[in-house]
Structure formats: structure tokens, C-alpha cells
């Protein structure tokens, strides 16, 4: 089997994997017995397992914190008799934070989907099973549970798990607060659309893509929480996604319309041809590329 293709992981994780690989090689070239070599591999695999567990805790914390922010905001909106709170100006940066946390979940999904970590965990499980007789029962049970939890994360449904948690939270919010929360989120989305529309297309493609991702993440959250995202704003968001149709997030090439189509298919009755949009964008871009490059160079030199 192929060992890994998890090229999105950071240097630390990759280094640990390389150490494991080297260890396996050296074990095979050495005079170790099969059993000793397997034990050696298990010990080294556990280093990479540590990183996966750290990821798991990070994901859990991110989901918990996102829920907490939404819960606190709804609690705030239920205190109307004490405060005159305007949804237009009330803690938008906390919604920014929720969007950033969900963006991280989305990236981790993309990482796990493109990596062979699932097979890697399965291999580790097989190796551990062979040593079952030598390991304490409780420790073995805990380890198997942990591996099972990690397998669930590696399915690529982390973002959906976060959304499901928010939907579950919806039942605990009072209807009046929910209505206020809805208008608060809608204003936030409209503000995002307005600010993105003010970007200069040539520059923002490279630098201000986070806002585009936040917008799409919040459309998904809004649609799942309230289920009635209006067509006008959706059209504006789709136009923005067409304008910024190939966003690079770390090492991942990301498209907003594909993301929306995957996470809120109900919003798209007619299918979007992303490839065609990207091709049109490239055709237009090729024509103006030299001119844009000269303009950018001139602005830098000046």
C-alpha cells in the first residue's frame, strides 16, 4: 500500500512520518525478528497518532467554542428589556471568529479527504490487534475507541459535524432570540458582501480571500439554522464566487460555488457548471494578464 500522500500537513507532522518510514526501513535491513520490527513500528506510529489526537482536540474545541459564541449571542438578544441592542453593531468580530473556526474545520476536511491517513490508521489497528494478548484489556479497549473516533474524523465530515452541533443548539434558543439572531447574521452576511464588492479584483484575488470564505461559510450556517436564505443575496454571493473562482487556502484550491453546492444543495435548483465558469475566467484573464502585470509592477515600483 502507498504509505502517505498527506502533503498538506505541516513540517512537524511530515517529519514524524518520515521518521516512521526510516524506522521501518532500518528495521527491515537490520537483524531484528519480525515481532521486534512490528513493535518498533507500533512505537513509531504512536508519534503520528499523537498529532492526530491533537487535531481531534482542536476540532472538538473549535466546535464547542462556535456553539458557545452562538449561545452567548442568543442569550444577549434575550436581554432586550435590560439593553437596547442593535443587531447591526453588536459583536460582529465574534461572528468573524466563528467563520474562521469553521474555515479551519473545512480545511481539515479537505486535508483528510486527500490523505491516506484512514488506511494508515487501519494498518496501525491491524498491527495492534496482533499484539492484543500482550496489552492490558483496559488499555486495549481505550486504544480501540480512540482509533474508532479518529476513523470518524478521517471520513471528511468534520464541517458537517460542526453544522449539526449548531442545528442541535437551535432547539435550545428561544424563538424571540432566534429571530434576532437571524437578522443579526443576515446583516453580517450583507456587510460581508458589501465589503467584498469593494475589493479590487486584481489584488484581492491574492490577499483578501478570507472574507470570501467567511461569506460562504456563513451562508451555509445561516441556511442550516434558519433555512430561508434569500435569492438576491445568494445571487450576489454566487457572482462573488464566480469572480474569485479559484481561491488557494494553504495548499488547497477552493471554489465557493462548489462548497455551497456540496453543503447546501437545496439552494441550487439548477446545477452550476464550475468548470465552465473557471474556463471563462481563465480566458478573460489571459487577455488582460500582461496589462495587469505591468500595472501591478508599476504600482510596486512607484
Amino acid at each position: 500500500m502507498t504509505y502517505y500522500s498527506s502533503s498538506f500537513f505541516s513540517a512537524e507532522v511530515v517529519t514524524k512520518l518520515l521518521i516512521v518510514e526510516d524506522e521501518i526501513r532500518s528495521s527491515e535491513n537490520s537483524n531484528l525478528t519480525n515481532e521486534e520490527a512490528t513493535n518498533n513500528v507500533i512505537v513509531k506510529f504512536s508519534y503520528a497518532l499523537e498529532d492526530l489526537l491533537n487535531m481531534k482536540f482542536l476540532i472538538q474545541n473549535s466546535i464547542f467554542l462556535s456553539n458557545n459564541v452562538i449561545q452567548q449571542l442568543s442569550a444577549l438578544f434575550s436581554m432586550e428589556k435590560y439593553f437596547q441592542i442593535s443587531p447591526a453593531s453588536c459583536f460582529p468580530s465574534n461572528l468573524d471568529d466563528v467563520a474562521v473556526l469553521f474555515k479551519n474545520l473545512m480545511i481539515l476536511d479537505a486535508i483528510f479527504l486527500t490523505s491516506d491517513y484512514k488506511a494508515y490508521i487501519a494498518l496501525y489497528g491491524e498491527l495492534i490487534s496482533k499484539q492484543e494478548s500482550k496489552i492490558d484489556d483496559d488499555a486495549m479497549r481505550n486504544l480501540k475507541n480512540t482509533l474508532q473516533e479518529l476513523q470518524l474524523l478521517l471520513e471528511g465530515n468534520i464541517f458537517q459535524i460542526g453544522i449539526d452541533n449548531l442545528i442541535a443548539l437551535k432547539g435550545k434558543i428561544r424563538p424571540k432570540s432566534l429571530k434576532r439572531l437571524e437578522s443579526f447574521m443576515l446583516i453580517y452576511i450583507k456587510n460581508l458582501i458589501n465589503s467584498i464588492n469593494m475589493f479590487d479584483a486584481n489584488i484581492s484575488e491574492l490577499t483578501e480571500t478570507d472574507e470570501v470564505i467567511k461569506l460562504n461559510v456563513f451562508i451555509v450556517i445561516y441556511q442550516h439554522l434558519f433555512g430561508n436564505f434569500d435569492a438576491k443575496n445568494l445571487r450576489l454571493a454566487t457572482e462573488i464566487n464566480n469572480k474569485f473562482c479559484a481561491i488557494t487556502v494553504y495548499n488547497i484550491l477552493w471554489n465557493g460555488n462548489t462548497f455551497l453546492k456540496k453543503n447546501v444543495p437545496a439552494l441550487f435548483k439548477s446545477s452550476l457548471d464550475v468548470a465552465k465558469i473557471q474556463q471563462n475566467f481563465m480566458n478573460n484573464k489571459v487577455q488582460t494578464l500582461s496589462k495587469d502585470a505591468t500595472a501591478m509592477y508599476a504600482s510596486q515600483v512607484r
Binding site: 511530515v14 439593553f83 468580530s93
Partner: protein, 119 residues
């Protein structure tokens, strides 16, 4: 099982490893520097900037008012925001590849053809 035997490939592999180590230590030092700059006695502090002058004020001092409920609300949202930033930083620093890691990606591709451990 076949491994790399070509001395040229092995040499370039070693070179990439050395360069990788250098980049990793550089990145670590840079991150340490950024973290130490940020965290120097700045725990729970809020930075205000007015033109050229800057003033560092504790959030607890900033939120002193007679309205205890309002103080509490502001503190809650401040800490939620701070925790979110911490998690985002942790994600960025620990898990997601940065530009420095492009070399490792190349390195991985160069080795991805190998078949290892058929259990």
C-alpha cells in the same frame, strides 16, 4: 521491496533534508519570536492605537463601569474572541502547511512512489 539506490538521488535527498531542517528551525525561531513579542506582559491586555501614540490598557481596567451586567457581557465576548484566536493560531502553527513546507511537499512527491509495508 525496493528502495532508492541511486547515489545521486540519495545525495539530493540528504540535501533536501538538510535544507528542510534549516527551514524548520528558521520557522520555529520566527514563530517563537512572534509569540514572545505578542505575549510579553500582554496577557489580557488591549492595545489602543491613536495615530502615532499607542497605549496598552488592561481589558479589566477598560471595562470598569457601574453597570456590572454590561461589564460581564463584554468580558464574556472578549474571552470568547481571545479563545477563538488562540485556537486559530494553534491550527495555523501546528497543523496547516505553510509556504516553508513547499519543499517537504516536493520531498514527499519524490518518495511517494515507494511501496512500504505490505502487512
Amino acid at each position: 521491496m525496493s528502495f532508492l539506490k541511486d547515489p545521486d538521488l540519495q545525495a539530493s535527498e540528504t540535501l533536501l533534508r538538510t535544507y528542510g531542517k534549516f527551514l524548520r528551525s528558521y520557522k520555529k525561531n520566527l514563530n517563537d519570536r512572534v509569540i514572545s513579542t505578542k505575549s510579553e506582559n500582554c496577557e489580557n491586555l488591549f492595545k489602543l492605537k491613536f495615530g502615532e501614540d499607542t497605549e496598552i490598557v488592561s481589558v479589566y481596567e477598560l471595562l470598569q463601569s457601574d453597570n456590572k451586567i454590561l461589564n460581564k457581557i463584554l468580558m464574556v465576548f472578549f474571552h470568547l474572541g481571545k479563545e477563538a484566536k488562540r485556537l486559530d493560531n494553534a491550527a495555523g502553527l501546528l497543523f496547516f502547511a505553510t509556504k516553508c513546507d513547499v519543499l517537504f511537499v516536493i520531498f514527499l512527491f519524490s518518495r511517494s512512489c515507494h511501496e512500504i509495508v505490505d502487512c
